[in-house]
């Protein structure tokens, strides 16, 4: 399954190249906007401009890495009835899909590698303050991202149609992951909301640990672990209901 996901990423090279170009444009745009609003200020919300730009550049790179294809694949396979073959395999369905997504991400990362220097040039980067903390929180954040994507995917077992839902999910998750504005700048209610949602672990939290804006790594890891455990329980529950609902279209 992992190999299939990996190959699929390489098969759609053209798509990835375009995504990379868009990523470079996005990071460049963010750099220009933030540089303009900072003007001559040394820092705002406890972030210097350099730290903020590094934070956003990383969060956008992570946004690319945590982009999930699995939702679209599940949707397509439920629609066409080919989900039957996935269910007939001895390995658990969710495990297969998670493996597929991991492979797909690896393939995407492989293609992204040559673009990373360009992205860093268009944006900006500083030396890591806490590289170990960055990697740990990012890996756990990735697990959360896969779990959430699987949860969204399972909706397809009820509605057979999740195009709009997954688009909305992507918008909301990217926004609250802080890929354009670090969470430190979110005002009032929006800030509290971003604080309790799990999306910040996909983008802002690891990036803020990287630049040293957040120093409490263990606190973040504990909350991430709690999210992973909670989501895992929820996934198991939802799956036990979903697979009883399987209707093979045209079967």
């Amino acid at each position: 399954m992992t190999r299939i996901g990996f190959r699929l990423a390489l098969a759609y090279r053209g798509n990835i190249v375009m995504t990379c170009v868009a990523l470079v444009a996005q990071v460049f745009l963010l750099r220009m906007i933030w540089t303009a609003v900072y003007g001559s200020r040394p820092a705002a919300a406890g972030l210097t401009l350099d730290a903020l730009l590094a934070c956003l550049t990383l969060a956008n790179l992570q946004g690319f890495a945590t982009h999930m294809l699995v939702t679209r694949i599940v949707h397509q396979r439920v629609r066409t009835g080919t989900v039957f073959f996935d269910l007939a395999r001895p390995a658990g369905y969710l495990r297969q899909m998670a493996a597929f997504q991991a492979g797909n991400t690896l393939g995407g990362l492989l293609l992204l590698t040559p673009v990373v220097p360009v992205v860093l040039l268009a944006g900006s980067i500083t030396a890591p303050v806490n590289p170990a903390g960055y990697v740990i929180t990012l890996v756990l954040g990735y697990v959360i991202a896969v779990q959430l994507a699987l949860l969204i995917s399972l909706i397809a077992f009820w509605t057979l149609e999740i195009g709009a839902v997954s688009l909305l999910y992507r918008l909301v998750s990217q926004f609250f992951a802080g890929t354009m504005v670090p969470l430190a700048f979110f005002p009032g209610f929006l800030g509290s909301l971003a604080e309790v949602l799990p999306f910040k672990y996909l983008g802002y939290v690891p990036a803020a640990i990287y630049v040293g804006h957040i120093s409490d790594v263990s606190g973040a890891v504990v909350v991430e672990a709690a999210w992973i455990a909670g989501l895992w329980a929820l996934l198991t529950l939802v799956w036990s209901r979903a697979h009883r609902r399987v209707v093979i279209q045209g079967g």
């Binding site: 798509n15 220009m32 906007i33 705002a44 919300a45 990217q174 354009m180 700048f185």
Partner: protein, 265 residues
């Protein structure tokens, strides 16, 4: 002239049929419009969050940026609502379906435009007009008849600029060159860089978006005129740029159409 009127009448008929087809799936249509509006909404939420902390962006306040953003978005929606179905051209050419358009006594481009309706683009229009209405009131502008007319001209002109690039790229599909990814990129550049004051990019990038890919003329220059930020008397002519560009794009389309070879069915 009679020919043009006839084409227009038939286009309206085709679009009405497309609209009826789209409305068969009511929930899908509503969700499509909403997702278009939400998409643009989050784009603007970003600016709103930033301006919450910082009072100005290159000398532009929140209401002024909102006006610029709304102007760009409305022009974009106006360009894409009729042209959305031209996006399918590559696929239609490959399938040999485009040959059918050539056999009917109506301009093939008009038929292509009437083929399907841009649903999500109505969401863009909704968000754009809402932003314009709110920002137009809160930005300190002394509205008068001529300014309103200028705004309308700017929206049409901006739509023509974007439509010209879109149509030129679509034309290449008649020669089996797939430009879909490139169109997505151009659309992305127009929306990303056209919605902010050009001043923040400075130097080479500003020059590029003024003289090479004239993103600046879609909304930035007209908005600067309305908000009294540009002294250059030439800026008033910005809405006119779209006219020669769309004419050139159409000529390019015709040229590629002359070279069209069916996919062979």
């Amino acid at each position: 002239m009679a020919e043009v009127l006839r084409a227009l009448r038939l286009y309206v008929l085709l679009q009405r049929a497309s609209a009826r087809a789209a409305l068969q799936y009511r929930a899908n249509t509503v969700i499509g419009i909403l997702s278009g509006a939400v998409w643009q909404g989050t784009g603007f939420a970003f600016i709103w969050v930033i301006m919450h902390t910082f009072p100005s962006l290159a000398g532009w306040g929140l209401a002024e940026i909102a006006f610029l953003y709304g102007l760009r978005l409305t022009a974009h929606a106006l360009a894409m609502i009729p042209l959305m179905s031209v996006n399918d051209i590559h696929w239609l050419v490959l399938n040999g379906e485009f040959d059918r358009f050539l056999l009917r006594p109506l301009n093939p481009l008009v038929q292509l435009m009437g083929n399907r309706m841009g649903i999500a683009q109505f969401g863009d229009l909704l968000a754009g007009v809402a932003l314009l209405a709110v920002a137009g009131r809160s930005a300190h502008v002394q509205w008068n008849g001529w300014l309103v007319a200028f705004c309308a001209a700017a929206i049409v002109g901006g739509a023509l600029i974007e439509a010209a690039f879109f149509l030129a790229l679509c034309s290449l599909s008649l020669r089996l060159i797939d430009t879909f990814a490139l169109r997505v990129f151009v659309d992305d550049v127009f929306s990303k860089f056209g919605s902010y004051p050009m001043k923040i990019f400075g130097g080479a990038v500003e020059w590029l978006f003024t003289f090479v890919l004239p993103v600046a003329f879609v909304a930035y220059v007209p908005a600067s005129v309305v908000l009294g930020k540009l002294g250059d008397p030439l800026a008033v002519a910005a809405p006119l740029l779209g006219v020669p560009l769309i004419v050139l794009a159409y000529l390019f389309w015709r040229r590629n159409l002359d070279h069209y070879q069916s996919a062979g069915h």
